[in-house]
């Protein structure tokens, strides 16, 4: 089998797995005062320090959560709530058109339930938010913005955003800026302090840690209303008994991924470039989506004209090649990717796309397996035709 879906989730690093297994054997709630609790707390706090050091944050800025989705929701909703409470004029939520649904749907929910006004930032044909669009928005109605959220790297097409520039514009206008760095951490340099962002999301399972544990890096002076109420374990912003083993494994993975990043990026982007060149050679009319340069090292994304992405996925799956169409399901049915549509692709092109993502254990054999299966799959899928009449 060839696993080309590391952006969906990537295997746990052996060191993270070891850390998990070692910690999960021990009893102890990090909030307990006895020795067992102290042991757990020590592990949690060391983990917090290691993560902080790896991503340019202070330990007190690391809020552990149940993963990327929770961190995004906490940032978007919590900062909105706190911002509007402090200044009722601040009712705008600004998000880019290519955000993950954890951000987009949280913003939409605020729009429907909380009377927020959702402003969507456009992207260019590579999926990048033009800084001028942000500057323009700020000039026009900056003092009404409660929270702005633009991802560091896109999970579908791998495009990197000019985060430092966007965060700088927001900071200068006093707007709290959140960035979803789930796909970026461990892949490209991510430094919270240097980025100028007020809040930043990371998650364990995209960088070799476990699923279900993540963090929101939240600047110490950024007001954020909690989503989950209870024991107030995490700076009173997030409640719930901490997953000591998960946190320890997460920290191990973050540290390892950041440490290995440079060497990883060189190796994996070379593999990716090879994949792209070979796909282009065998399917000359394949359209490469996303940015050529400012891109995640492991991401390759194509549209295959005349094919349904769904059909290609089925055919490649049958050959043991695992990839993704990147399209979300709505009511159980695949919808054309909102990311590609925002980049100006038409419905047919959006539906004809496939994402291949490489990771820490990818080898040239994975690329070989893809290339062995792809030409036949594309031919078949073409014969099956763009069967779906555009809505």
């Amino acid at each position: 089998m060839a696993y080309l879906d590391h952006a969906a989730t990537t295997p746990m690093l052996p060191a993270a797995l070891d850390a998990y297994v070692a910690a999960v054997r021990e009893v102890g709630n990090p909030s307990s005062l006895h020795a067992a609790g102290r042991g757990a707390r020590r592990l949690v706090e060391e983990s917090r320090e290691r993560i902080a050091a790896a991503v340019g944050a202070r330990p007190s800025e690391v809020i552990f959560t149940g993963g990327g989705t929770e961190s995004d929701n906490l940032a978007v909703k919590g900062i909105f709530w706190a911002g509007r409470a402090a200044d009722p004029e601040r009712t705008l939520v600004v998000v880019s058109a290519v955000e993950h649904h954890a951000v987009l749907d949280a913003a939409d929910w605020l729009g429907v339930q909380e009377g927020a006004e959702v402003v969507t930032l456009p992207v260019d044909d590579a999926g990048r938010v033009p800084p001028e669009a942000v500057a323009e928005l700020i000039a026009e109605q900056g003092e009404r913005v409660a929270v702005m959220s633009v991802q560091w790297a896109n999970n579908e097409v791998g495009t990197l955003q000019p985060i430092a520039e966007l965060a700088g514009l927001a900071a200068a206008a006093g707007i709290p800026f959140h960035t979803d760095a789930v796909q970026a951490a461990g892949q490209v340099p991510v430094d919270f302090a240097a980025s100028g962002a007020a809040a930043l999301t990371i998650t364990g399972h995209k960088l070799g840690g476990p699923v279900g544990v993540g963090a929101l890096l939240l600047g110490r002076d950024v007001a954020c209303t909690p989503l989950l109420h209870g024991g107030g374990q995490e700076r009173d912003v997030r409640s719930g008994t901490l997953d000591t083993a998960g946190v320890a494994a997460f920290a191990t993975a973050v540290e390892a991924a950041v440490k290995a990043r440079e060497e990883y990026a060189v190796r994996v982007s070379a593999l990716r470039d090879d994949l792209v060149a070979r796909v282009r050679a065998v399917i000359p009319d394949a359209i490469f989506n996303g940015a050529a340069e400012d891109r995640l090292p492991g991401n390759a994304h194509f549209s295959f004209p005349g094919c349904e992405g769904d059909a290609l996925l089925l055919l490649l799956d049958a050959q043991g090649v695992y990839c993704s169409t990147g399209s979300a399901c709505s009511a159980g049915v695949a919808q054309p990717s909102h990311v590609l549509l925002a980049m100006g692709a038409d419905d047919a092109r959006a539906r004809s796309s496939l994402r291949f993502t490489l990771g820490h254990d990818s080898t040239v054999a994975d690329v070989d397996a893809l290339l062995a299966a792809l030409p036949g799959a594309v031919e078949r899928a073409r014969r099956a035709g763009a069967w779906k009449t555009p809505r």
């Binding site: 769904d310 089925l314 009511a331 159980g332 049915v333 078949r380 899928a381 014969r383 099956a384 035709g385």
Partner: protein, 362 residues
């Protein structure tokens, strides 16, 4: 063979897929999303198109251990089945949407796509037999037999169809589902029309076609006996819900004899006027028939069978019934069977256009 199992989320299609795996085929499960705005949960026993059904199908595929995908066929279903259903009623005919779905969706849109993607056949959980001889036969479970709604399939479609359940009773299928650890084993059967979730066909048609009041007239005297709110709300042979102002002279119940969309009238009369012994039908799908054939015909889903002589000429099928039948509605299928100890064999089918008494039009 590489086969595609259409999985509705019900017990039949789940067991059919499992049996295809046991038979040594390389099986991929597909759930057809047919509703434009699917509901989250099933209500009662209707439909097969909720998200819950889709999850049930996926869970069954996981238990069986086959890949599973959802194919969005909502537009095709809407155009070929739902619109057709409404248009047929508007034209005074009585359509069978399950039959249409087999003809246009499962063994057409889905089959075509499957074949293009390299599959050899489509497997479904229909209760009918399709053996090595290529003949379509009734299921051993006569009460659950679905050969009537499959009789529209052409030879080419049947050649790429597999019905692994035809040799089993429904009871046996449920027991087998339980043995296989399929949670859908005791899921209720779906009834009625899947896209009319509240079961109110007349209300559904009225919402699509609008109210269209017209007269109800006596077929013998031409007298106006009452009014109706839309001729599409009636089916040939219907007795209830006529709400006639003028009682019949002989005091006997009256039945819908015909529906005339042009004048928007519903004609009623006594039971004997419903009787026909010649049935004409169009668009025949006929498996190997040259001269007149003595056989049995079935004139509606779950209807009784009548001995008949059938001939096909110039795209028209004519069936002469040995004993008269009642409630023969245009738009329904006539399906001809040859009685056989190994399961009655489907000889062919056609869409009914008219019924008459030998010699005189009714």
């Amino acid at each position: 063979m590489r086969v595609l199992a259409a999985m509705s989320g019900g017990v039949d299609s789940a067991v059919a897929a499992a049996r295809a795996v046991d038979a040594g085929h390389d099986v991929t499960g597909v759930h057809l999303a047919l509703a434009r705005n699917p509901q989250t949960f099933r209500t009662g026993a209707r439909g097969c198109c909720t998200l819950e059904d889709s999850r049930d199908a996926r869970r069954a595929a996981d238990v069986i251990g086959i890949p599973f995908y959802v194919w969005d066929m909502a537009e095709e279903f809407h155009d070929s089945v739902v619109d057709d259903f409404v248009n047929e009623y508007a034209a005074g005919r009585t359509p069978n949407p399950c039959l249409r779905c087999n003809e246009k969706i499962k063994f057409s849109a889905v089959l075509d796509r499957a074949v293009a993607l390299g599959f050899d056949a489509v497997v479904t959980g229909h209760h009918a037999r399709l053996g090595a001889d290529g003949l379509l036969r009734r299921s051993v479970d006569i009460a659950k037999d679905q050969s009537y709604v499959l009789a529209v399939l052409t030879r080419a479609q049947l050649d790429r169809a597999m019905f692994p359940l035809g040799d089993s009773t429904k009871e046996r299928v449920r027991a087998e589902a339980a043995e296989r650890g399929l949670a859908v084993a005791d899921k209720p059967d779906s009834h009625d029309i899947c896209f009319i979730s509240d079961g109110d066909t007349r209300g559904f048609l009225e919402s699509r076609l609008g109210a269209a009041p017209g007269d109800i007239v006596d077929g013998r005297t031409g007298e106006t006996l009452g009014t109706h709110n839309g001729a599409y709300g009636f089916t040939i042979g219907q007795r209830k819900g006529l709400d006639l102002r003028v009682p019949a002279a002989d005091g006997r119940p009256r039945y819908v004899l015909s529906i005339t969309p042009v004048s928007n009238t519903v004609t009623v009369g006594p039971r004997e006027d419903l009787e026909v012994d010649v049935v004409s039908a169009e668009r025949p799908i006929w498996h190997d028939l040259s001269a007149d054939v003595s056989c049995e015909v079935q004139l509606r889903a779950h209807g009784e069978v009548v001995p008949a002589t059938v001939s096909v000429a110039d795209g028209t099928l004519t069936a002469r019934l040995t004993t008269p039948a009642r409630g023969v509605a245009a738009g329904q299928a006539i399906v001809a069977y040859r009685p056989d100890p190994g399961g009655d064999i489907v000889l062919g089918s056609a869409t009914i256009t008219a019924g008459s008494r030998a010699g005189a039009d009714v």
